[in-house]
Structures are given as structure tokens and as C-alpha cells.
Symmetry: C2
Subunit: 379 residues, 2 copies
Amino acid sequence: MAAPSHPGTSEPKGANVERMPTVDDVARAANVSRQTVSNVLNSPAIVREDTRLRVQRAIDDLGYRPNASARRLRTQRSATIGLRLDPLRDGISGAVLDRFVHKLAEQADARDLRVMIFSASGHDDELAHIRRLRDGSDVDAFVLIGTDHGDERSQWLIDQGVPFVSFGRPWGAPSPDPRHRWVDVDGRAGVRDAVTRLRERGAQRVAWIGWPSPSGTGDERAAGWREACGLPPAAADALSRATEDGVPEGRAVATALLALPEAPDAIVCASDSLALGALMAAQAAGHGELPIVGFDNTPVAAAVGLSSVDQPLDEVVAATLELLFGERGGAVRPNPNSNEEPTHRLLVPRLVERRSTHLPLDGNPGALGSGDHNRKESS
Amino acid sequence: MAAPSHPGTSEPKGANVERMPTVDDVARAANVSRQTVSNVLNSPAIVREDTRLRVQRAIDDLGYRPNASARRLRTQRSATIGLRLDPLRDGISGAVLDRFVHKLAEQADARDLRVMIFSASGHDDELAHIRRLRDGSDVDAFVLIGTDHGDERSQWLIDQGVPFVSFGRPWGAPSPDPRHRWVDVDGRAGVRDAVTRLRERGAQRVAWIGWPSPSGTGDERAAGWREACGLPPAAADALSRATEDGVPEGRAVATALLALPEAPDAIVCASDSLALGALMAAQAAGHGELPIVGFDNTPVAAAVGLSSVDQPLDEVVAATLELLFGERGGAVRPNPNSNEEPTHRLLVPRLVERRSTHLPLDGNPGALGSGDHNRKESS
DNA sequence: CTGACCGTTTTGATCGATCAAATTCTTCTG
DNA sequence: CAGAAGAATTTGATCGATCAAAACGGTCAG
């Protein structure tokens, strides 16, 4: 938090008027040719030890930094990933994508990649942007987020030969194109685990609040509940509800569930928004102790002490980059032509347990918040 | 939502193997010289009408798109804005910054600017990144977010001659550097308005829940409350509380306030997190009808029907870009040397009223949610 | 001593655009 | 109709790096 001054390397760069040094400047200073300098940077192995050190010192002394544009122009690649920020996501659940963006920025940086963001109003607009960015060689690979049924973006990108990976499976496609690389989280397994855990804890009638079908992610999650709830079909149907996402919606549906003659003794929801609504409903109905589980482990869930299924975004991002660039490489791999190597990755989420599956909700506020991340935030 | 195929211009670009056309290709096709093509793109005014049309047609036919790297190399500017995504913000309030990022991406796009994001672990790390990005001429201007007391970043950037604008005032500086361009929202006025509104509605004892001092934004907001609450100092002190940000914290403090012999009849908070906590406290204490106002108008506030002070992010972003690039220009202005033109902009927020200042909280869930933005969101 | 061979370094060309200056084409004046 | 002034267009150089191939220096077998 303290210790200002010299961040980065601290060479004597005065104001900012004098131009940045170039390879030629470094070459002159180290008494070698441009190319040798270039080699020191890009293939140090082929340069003799002592010259390498000499050049390196010159680089440090002058504070040389390769010009990204020049390099990109010559190499024909930008080492930049494009990412569309979805303008629709304004709900609580949108926070997942934010975390995804963060992680992506972090891990991309570690690989010396840049991340460029853009926003678009719809799928068509998005594709137009992608084309522009790629044709201008601004960006050489894209990450698609939030694929859904009948998503025509993937196919277009494949046809155009634009390298990309989607966070989200190709829902609904009868036979998914093997050239489509994707990473996703197994929501079905996540919900299944959550339900199982609740039953281990003694719950016998675990209800489900999900989204209307068809919804790729939603249907998967619902399936997970159905597999694990241990109820005969009819009873299961009675405890299953579908509604648009949202806190009020969740509250309304949960209220109805709790008013049933054979009321549920636990509720699992397809999102934290729905779960928060359910939490409020339970509280209002005097069932403060009712175990409730949400999905996505958003900040709100942490804040109100709601148990939630957490997506392993670190792994998601790592897998995304690996599919795009390989184990460590910095060069983009084109979309695979055949199905030689695995072109997708399905990751398993894990349940984060909090008060909502442990303690009664009422009572002393002092015990709230389970010490989860709660940082002050200004502006 | 429907209508796939041809996004952008739809020229007959087959696979993606053949290289993109260049100015020379276009020139040849239109029977002019490279430079004329360049002129059509950059200064159409000096090209004769008919040649311009001819060239334009060739551009469209070939699907030509200027190569960003080449242009940047030659012009020495990247038309790219750098933005650090703060890894700390994980609370509910962090959502404001997300909205900011969105708006920035949108408006930057309208000006043909790119936005590049990066993440850093601390201020020093951030500055190191900034240096790297700028020295590599990847980015030519930066937007700083969330400035706070003793923030040494601004001064460093000014010293280094790196063009930037901060979203957030230079807090605490005895005499702010006139070369520092910034945009901020007048939180004091926002809170003042909110309190005034509550008093117009009949509230007589409006309490305040804020953050511990010193906090630039926090102190300003508190000042707004104090100015408008209309209570003598002693009484005001009794109704003022400071705590770290967070839902549980807000709940605890609000519970204490409500237990006072002279309890408040309305509460204004420095954040939606605190306000949500207060809302829960009020509900638990049987004061479901207590008017409560939050700050930042986050999705959560919309979801639970909490009134909140909304920051005009559209204007904030517009002002930011204007300070950086001028009215319409695409070229970055350096940090001003003297204080000739205005170098900052202070915008006024406005109160968004919802159920929490209108109706009782309990009662029928059907009436919840005030129709505010609630969109479904998948993985 | 010659020349093949390997490791290291240098030279010339190139990526795709814009700048600055030179050139050609128009138009208008005396 | 010559010639100047202005408009429109073209030419040559350049931005800063990497690629591809050539040149260099040393070792070593024949």
C-alpha cells in the first residue's frame, strides 16, 4: 500500500518528449546489429552468452521496449483477445461474467496477451464488430460468452475461420461441429451435489426453482436436481417450478411452494437471484431456518450468507486460454479441422456452504456474513 | 434476435486463407494511387467526388479494411484506451464500475476507439503495466478508477506525461495539480437531495449509515446528509453511524439505530450493501415500512425495490472521453500544462425512488420489483 | 593448406499504412 | 492563349520491428 516511486524498471526517462529507443538504438549502444537485439528478445537461445548479456544491459539502460504495433505489423498477429461485454447482463447473476472477465485479464497478462473489450447490441452487431477487429488485425482470437439455444455465432465464426473459444456449450445443435472449441461448467453435477448434500443433512423434500425451458444451462441444472432429489416423478413435478430470473420472481414462487400442503424442507435454485427471493419468502413465512441453495456464488450470496454453487472460473479461463493458445504458446491455434485433440472441457463446480444451509436466519445479526469476501469500495 | 447471415458488410470473402486486401490492392482496382485511397478514408474532403465514389466502391467490393497495426505504427497512436479492472471490488457496489466499463466500451466504440483492459495487484503493479502498455504504444491514454486518499498514481502519471483522466477526485491533495483531469459525481448533492426528499415526505429523524473516515467519497456523502438532515449537531451525531461496507455490517448498525429510544424514521446509507442490510434489519424489527435509501443504484437495489442514488454513468463516461479526446476528435490530448480550459467535471446524481420509500415491505410479493431492469441470464 | 560445416551475426527486404513533397490537371485571369 | 494559382493526385520516404538469406569466424577432417 505504501512505497511509491519506481514502479516497473526505473530508467532515467525524463519527460516524455524524446522518442522511445528502438532496436537500432539498442543495437548501436551494444555494438551489434538490429537483428541480434531482436534475437535476444525472441530467441535468446541462439545468441552467445556474452553478447546476450551485453545487449540485455543496453536494453535495460535505455529502457527499451519493443513497439507493439511494429511487431504486430511484421508478425501479422496481435496477441490480443477480443471479448464482448454483454450489455444485457444487469441482473445479479451477471456478476459471474464480471469475475470471468477479471480472471481472463489476469491470466492473459501472465501469457503476455492483451484483452480488448467491445460492446454490441445484438448477435449480428457482435459479429460485425468481430469482423472489423479481426480484419484490422486488432485482435486475433475471440472468447464468446453466454451461448444459448440457436446461437448462430459459433457457426459463422467457424465458417469465417475466426479462432475462438466459447464459454458455454453449443446448446441444441443436433451434432455439434467438432471445430467448435468450448469450455463449460457442469451445472447438472453442481446441482446434483447440492441436492445430495441437503439430503445427507436430512432434507427429504428438496424443491427446485428454475427457468422456463428451453434454456441450455437451466435445463441442465434442473436435470441435476431431478436426478438427485430421490422423489417419484409425480412428487418431483409438484416441487418443481420455473420462472424468469429475478428476486421478486423467486420470492413469489417460493411463497407458493411454502404454502403447499406438503411443503418442501429445502430449496435449490438455478440462480442466486431466485435464491435470494426464496430466502426472503422463507423469512417472511416464518421458515427462517429453511435450507436454500443458489447458483453462481455471487457477491450478494456471500453478503447475505446464502449457500451457492460456485463455478471454477480460474479453471474455466485457464482452459479457455489453453484451447486457444496451447499449453504455453503465444500463437493462436486456428479452429481445429478435424477432431484430433479434445476441443472442449467440462469443469465441475463446487458447493460453497454458508449460513443458509447451516443456521437459522433470524436471531443475532452479529453471526452474519460468515467472513466471506467483503471489501470496502469507493466511488 | 433473428435474421442471421451477413453481419457487417457482406463481401464474398471465402475461407480465410487469402490475405486481406491492402491499400495497394484497392488503388489498383480503382485506378488511383495508394495515397488517394488513404485520403478517401482519412480526409475525404480533399478528394474529388467521382474518384471518391470509385475508390469507395473498390473498397466495398474488395472488403478492404485498413490494417490497424500498420496505421498505428505510422501515426504513432493506437486510438486505444487502457483500463485497469480492479481485482478488489467484489462487493455489491463493484457493480457501478462494471456499468462504467460497459458504458466506456460503448461510447469508445462510437468514437472508433478501442478499450484494452488489464488487471494489477496494486498501485505499483498498475503503474508498471501502464508503462508497459504505453511504451509499447499499445495504448495511448488511460482511465483511472476509484481514486482515494493519498493516491500517488495521478502524480506519477502526470510526471511521466501519460495522458489520463480519473473517475474520482484527487482526494486529500492540499492543492490539486491543475494538470490532473478528472470526472466525478457529486455524492454530497446526491445524498442531500435524498434526505431532503425524505423530509418532504414527512421524515423528521433521518439517520445516516456511512463509512469510517477518512474516505473521500464517504465523507462527502456524509456531509450531504449532515447539511440536509435539519438536526442540531448533537442529535445528528446520535443518528450517524460509520462502519465498513457490507450487508451484515449495515444490518448490525441499523438494528442498533432502531433500538434507540429516539429511533430514526428513515435511513440513508452510503451504499446499497449497507442499505440492504438496513432493509433486512428494519424488516426483522417489524419496521417494514421504514424508508431507506441506498447509493449506487446497483442491480440488487433494483431487485429488492430499494431506492437509491444513481450515478449518471453515461455522462461520466462522455465527460471522460471529452476530456481525453476533445469534442469529437480521435487524437489524445496530452495532460494540460496550465489551467486554461476546465480540466474536470463534477456531475450530479439523481435519486431513483422505489418501494423502499413508498410502500411497506411486507405484503403481497406480486407488487414487488417495480418493473426495473430484470433480465434473464445464463451461464 | 583447403574446404566443409557449424554456430553466430549481419544485411536486405518486407509488413501496410501515412506523411511530406513533387507532380499533374484545372481553372481562371490578363 | 500564356501562365499563375489552386485543386487533385502521385511519388518517395518512413514508422519499428521480424523474416529469410547471406556473411562471417572458427574448428576440424582430409
